[in-house]
Structure formats: C-alpha cells, structure tokens
C-alpha cells in the first residue's frame, strides 16, 4: 500500500474513530460508572499512570447500577414508552399527510414538478428551530389555529394546544413531513404508468389499481419515509421542550435535563445507551430497506 492511498484512507478513518467511535465508547464507559462530587463528576477514572493494576482496579469498579436504576425509576420507562408512542403516531400521521402530497406531486403536470419539488425542499433547508418557532404563534391560546376554529364555530372557547402532547404531534408532523414526502415521491415518479393501465386492462377499477399496484410498488419509499421520520422523532429534543408541556415525556428531553439540571452524567449516559439500543432495530430495518431499493434499481 503506498503512502498516498494510506493517508487518503487514514485521515477520514481516524477522524471518525476519534470523534465518533471513541466518544461513544466513553459514553458507554461512563454509563457503567458512578456519580461523584468531583470533576469530572463520576468515578472511577482511568489512571494510566498506575499501569495494569490501575486498569484492573478501574474495571472492577464498573457496574450496571445505572441501568438498574433506570429499570426501577418509572420516569425513564415512561419516557421511553411515550417517546416510542409519540414517534410512532406522528410517523403514521406524517404518512397520512405525506402520501397524498407525494402522490399529487407525482401526478401533477410535468412542468409543475420542479416547482413542487422546490416547495418541498425549501422547508427542508430552512432552519429547523425557526420552523418549530413558527408553530408557537399558531398554536398559542390567541393563535391563528384557535381563531380559525372559533371563526368556523367549531369551538366556543380557545383550546389549550401549546405545551401539550398535541402540539408535539403537530410539531413533529410539521417539521418531518418533507422527509416522508421525498422518498415516496421518488418511488411514485418511477412507477411505470403502463402498469396501472395493464391493471385496468385486466379488470381493476382505478381505486383497485391504486391499492394493488401503486401502494405495493411504492412500499420501499413508504418504509424509507417512515424510518426517516420515526428515527429522529424518537430522540427529538427541540420539539418537546419548545412545544410540549411539563408532562410531555420524551427521552431526548429527559436525557438533556438529566445531564444539565441534575448533572448526573452516568445516568444520562445510561439513558443514551438504552436509547441507542432501542434505535438499533429500526436503523437496521431501514438499512435493509435501502439496500433492497438499491438492488431493485440495478
């Protein structure tokens, strides 16, 4: 191996090792440590100066106490469960809203499509924080949504939406919708129109052809979209802390508070480790789906 090739591989490789993998191993290690009133606020710390004995000593002090604590304190259980629930339901709502938009885009006249695409991508490039912020005004007591509903006569009194879980749902659906629309649109636009004609020719009504042909053939895009919403929504921090209420439990928020308010680094690390374990399943499924899509294309 020549030097040039080696350095080409080594630079990004060691960068990622040092700034992605090792930090994560540190999180894992701290999750096995105990909280302490020191700097850094956990124990044990590895004393390399003490050599091999120091290392053994260090290892022997690691334990699963933090994980046991997580299992017994129902704050964490509830956070995980409610994160999964919120992420799951918002993903489903995203699909219900995103699919018709993607479908409408794919079936719109050709000359419109670049513009429609631009309209979906624009929010994607716009600051996430600002898009969450824009909902605060809309969802507040005197906000547009309440005024609109009252004008319609659907409600007499303004509803409390902001600082509830409903606002969190709306926030996730609103901010992550483009992630659902884009992959579905990408599969729908590739759908060969003659397949639908063939289905009709063989006796399907248009609705039937939609369910039997369009939906199964856009499955890969639907799955990709769902994971692209579900995975980040699960660890979401900004939306629950800005739109949710004090009773909104989401694991990203819990972790952040554990870290900054309680300064309990070992527990925060344990929370992160569990969150990652939960995420591994959808991540692996997502990767497999991506691979299948790639293979289908070649």
């Amino acid at each position: 191996m020549n030097l040039r090739r080696f350095s080409l591989i080594a630079v990004p490789y060691f960068w990622l090792l040092g700034l992605f993998l090792i930090p994560f191993l540190i999180v894992f290690k701290i999750s096995l440590s105990d909280i302490a009133l020191s700097i850094p606020p956990y124990t044990p710390t590895l004393e390399l100066s003490e050599g091999w004995a120091g290392f053994r000593d260090f290892l022997s002090q690691l334990d699963f106490e933090n994980f046991e604590f997580l299992a017994t304190d129902d704050l964490y259980w509830k956070s995980y469960l409610s994160s999964v629930q919120i992420a799951f339901i918002s993903t489903f709502i995203c699909l219900l809203i995103g699919f018709p938009i993607a479908y409408g885009m794919a079936n719109a006249p050709k000359e419109w499509q670049p513009t429609l695409m631009l309209l979906v991508i624009l929010p994607f490039w716009t600051s996430f924080l600002i898009r969450v912020y824009s909902l605060i005004g809309i969802l507040s007591q005197e906000g547009m949504l309440n005024q609109f509903l009252m004008w319609l006569g659907l409600i007499g009194e303004p509803l409390t939406i902001l600082n509830t879980n409903v606002a969190v749902y709306i926030g996730i659906v609103y901010t992550y919708c483009p992630f659902m629309i884009l992959p579905i649109y990408a599969t729908l636009i590739k759908l060969d129109g003659s397949l639908l004609e063939a289905a009709e020719d063989l006796g399907c009504s248009r609705t039937e052809a939609f369910w039997r042909i369009t939906v199964p053939l856009s499955k890969a895009g639907i799955i990709a979209g769902c994971f692209l919403v579900f995975i980040p929504a699960l660890g979401e921090f900004v939306i629950p802390s800005l739109l949710g209420g004090s009773d909104t439990l989401m694991i990203g928020k819990t972790l952040f508070e554990e870290f900054y308010n309680n300064r309990d680094w070992p527990v925060a690390s344990a929370v992160a480790v569990i969150l990652l374990l939960i995420l591994i399943i959808p991540i692996v499924l997502y990767q497999r789906n991506e691979q299948k899509m790639m293979e289908a294309e070649t």
């Binding site: 060969d192 003659s194 397949l195 004609e197 063939a198 289905a199 009709e200 020719d201 063989l202 006796g203 399907c204 009504s205 039937e208 042909i213 199964p216 053939l217 499955k219």
Partner: protein, 373 residues
C-alpha cells in the same frame, strides 16, 4: 378449391368484430387519427403498420379504452364501446414494455385478471396452468418478473393478456424488445397461439417484416390516415401508392409520363430511351406516373436479353453481398440508380459481375406496377 380460404373481408355477409367509423382523435392541435374507418373481423390477425407517430398506437389505445375518440364511433360486436371503461371491456392488451407487475410472481401476474373476475380459486388455478403451458413457461410460475429472461417475460405478458379469454387481444410492438433471432421464432409461435385460441389479434408494429409474417391483413398508416389495408402479398405486390411501395421492402421508383396501352401503360422516362411497359395499380388516365419495381424482379445479364420489352443498359456502381442474395446498384446513363437482386443459389460461384461492368437490366411487362404520382 374445396378448402375454404379465411377471407371474411371479401364476404359481404360477414359481420365485423370491430368497426371504426369515421374515427378522429386529436391531442390539442395534433391530429393523431384522421377520420378513419376500418373493419376488423373475428379471428383475424390484423396488423397496424406505420412509422412512429402515424397514429397506430392511438388506434390501439382507443380499442383498449385508454383514449376516447374525439369524434366517430368504435363498435365491438356491434356495440359502441366508447362509454365502457377499460376494466369492463372484453379487450386485453399486451404492453410494449410488457408492464408485468414486479411485485407479483409470474403465476400471480397471469392470475391477476382472473381474480378480478371473482372466479373460484380452482378455476383460476386451472386457467393459469393452462396459460403457462400454452406459452411454455410452466417451470417459471413462482418466479418474479426480474428473475426471467426477456423472451420469457414476453410470454408471461402474452399469457396474462390471454388468460381472460378476451374477444380481442391487442399487442403493442410485441416483439420489439427481443433480439432478431428470437423475434423470428416468436413470430411463428405467436401465429400458432393465435390459431389455437381463435382470438382476434390486433398487433401494432413499425417492423414491416413482422407485420408481413404474422398478419392475415396489414393496414399501412401514415399521418393518421390509412394508406392501404390488404393481405401481406397484395401489400407487397400491389401497393396502391409509392408510400406503401417504399415503406414495405425495397423498391425502385422511376418517374415518367404514362400513356395507356390496353391493359398496360407505356411510360416515357428518359430522352432517347424506349418507354417502360408496366401494369397500372388501377385504371388511370394518361399523365405523370411513378413506376415501381422490386429489385428481385429485375434481371441482370451481360448480354442484351432478346425476349423482353423492358431493357435498359447501365454500369455496376455497387455490390452488396448479403449471403443469400446479392444486390447490384446499376447506374443508368440518365443518372438513375436501379437495384437488381439475384439469389446466390450456388456456393462459391464466382461473382458474374463486378464494379464498372456494363450490364443489361430487364423485366417483364407485369413485373412492375404503375402508380399515380
């Protein structure tokens, strides 16, 4: 002749299965099909032939129900079909891209239409197996479309379209995706299957050879109009226009002034040359005409043949050796190039003529056809 020939188009009592009556289809400013009338009979293997954009695909899509005529009516079995949606028509189509459903197995693709008819499962199964046998792909029932070859896909598409036993089967460029050798074999199989099932086939193609091979009748189309509807041999031997003569096969066209001489016509085509004698395609008045003759009907010889009226002399300009045939391009003194074709019936025969040879070309009075210009 005791055997009855299949020629319902010559039988005034026969009822056509399909009738196009003054059908016009416009897309915006573009007229795809222009006031076209045609009858297609039961059990026919009918070919719509023409270059791309001639309106043949539009005709077929109107039959399938994917387009509705701008004006005029299309009758199937004496019934106006324009209000019937595609999924309710007893017409099935084999798509050019085959349009096989990629998420379903070969078996389920073929069963797809039968399931829509809510047939009992055992009947569906029996029918699918019958179809798999018919197109000889029994072994591949459980595969997905991407796991079989192009030729097999073509068979699945055919089986799927035939499974519902439609009154009419439409085939959109059915063989265009296959390579040449496979295409030729499949042409004969297609004819076999058509005969076995007794289904009326309408095939759309731009490949004249394919149309001539498979079809009982060929309709040559251009710019949304029918140029000629006839049996393959009539289309070839008796084209009614230079367009048809030129579109089908190879042809020499000589322009000149025609003068009737009984059943034949004498065409003066060049200064100082005796007129060419040809047979008019239909009774026509004296005037400017085109004389069309196929290269294989032009004889080439070193000596002037004594027994023929139509003899011209020229110089060999080019020789195309095609294996079974050789085509000589012979330039006449007037500058016109005439192609003459000879069969290479003997192996290793030394080529009788070579470049720059002075040769004589000749043909009989009935070999060429006189067309209006």
């Amino acid at each position: 002749m005791p055997e009855t020939v299949f020629e319902p188009w010559n039988d005034p009592a026969a009822n056509p299965l399909i009738q196009f009556r003054n059908v016009t289809k416009r897309f915006g400013d573009f007229t795809a099909v222009d006031n076209l009338s045609i009858d297609i009979f039961e059990k026919e293997f009918f070919a719509l032939l023409g270059p791309s954009g001639c309106g043949k695909t539009t005709m077929m899509r109107m039959l399938a129900g994917f387009e509705t005529p701008t004006s005029g009516t299309i009758m199937l079995d004496g019934q106006d079909i324009s209000p019937i949606p595609p999924n309710k028509r007893s017409v099935n189509m084999m798509f050019q891209s085959y349009a096989l459903f990629p998420h379903l197995t070969v078996y389920d693709n073929i069963a797809f239409g039968l399931k829509r008819d809510k047939l009992p499962p055992d009947q569906i199964d029996a029918r699918v197996k019958e179809m798999l046998r018919l197109v000889q792909i029994e072994k591949f029932g459980q595969r997905k479309p991407e796991q079989i070859s192009g030729g097999q896909r073509q068979r699945v598409a055919l089986a799927r379209a035939l499974a519902k036993a439609p009154k009419l089967l439409l085939l959109d460029e059915p063989l265009s995706a296959l390579d040449k050798k496979l295409r030729q074999d499949t042409q004969f199989e297609l004819m076999d299957i058509q005969e076995k099932t007794g289904t009326t086939f309408v095939v759309v193609t731009h490949d004249q050879e394919e149309a001539m091979t498979v079809a009982s009748r060929v309709a040559v189309m251009d710019h949304g109009k029918l140029k000629q509807v006839d049996t393959p041999d009539r289309i070839y031997e008796a084209p009614n226009s230079t367009y048809v003569a030129d579109f089908i096969g190879d042809v020499n066209i000589i322009e000149g002034h025609g003068k009737a001489q009984g059943d034949t016509m004498a065409i003066s085509w060049a200064e100082g040359q005796p007129p060419i004698i040809g047979t008019p395609s239909k009774p026509m008045d004296d005037g400017n005409v085109s004389f069309a003759i196929r290269p294989e009907k032009v004889a080439i010889s070193a000596e002037r043949p004594a027994d023929r009226n139509n003899v011209v002399q020229g110089k060999v300009l080019d020789i195309a050796y095609l294996g079974n045939l050789s085509t000589y391009h012979v330039q006449l003194p007037s500058g016109i190039v005439i192609k003459a074709q000879t069969a290479n019936s003997r192996r290793r025969a030394s080529r009788p003529f070579t470049w720059e040879d002075e040769v004589w070309l000749s043909w009989t009075d009935t070999a060429g056809i006189v067309l209006e210009r």
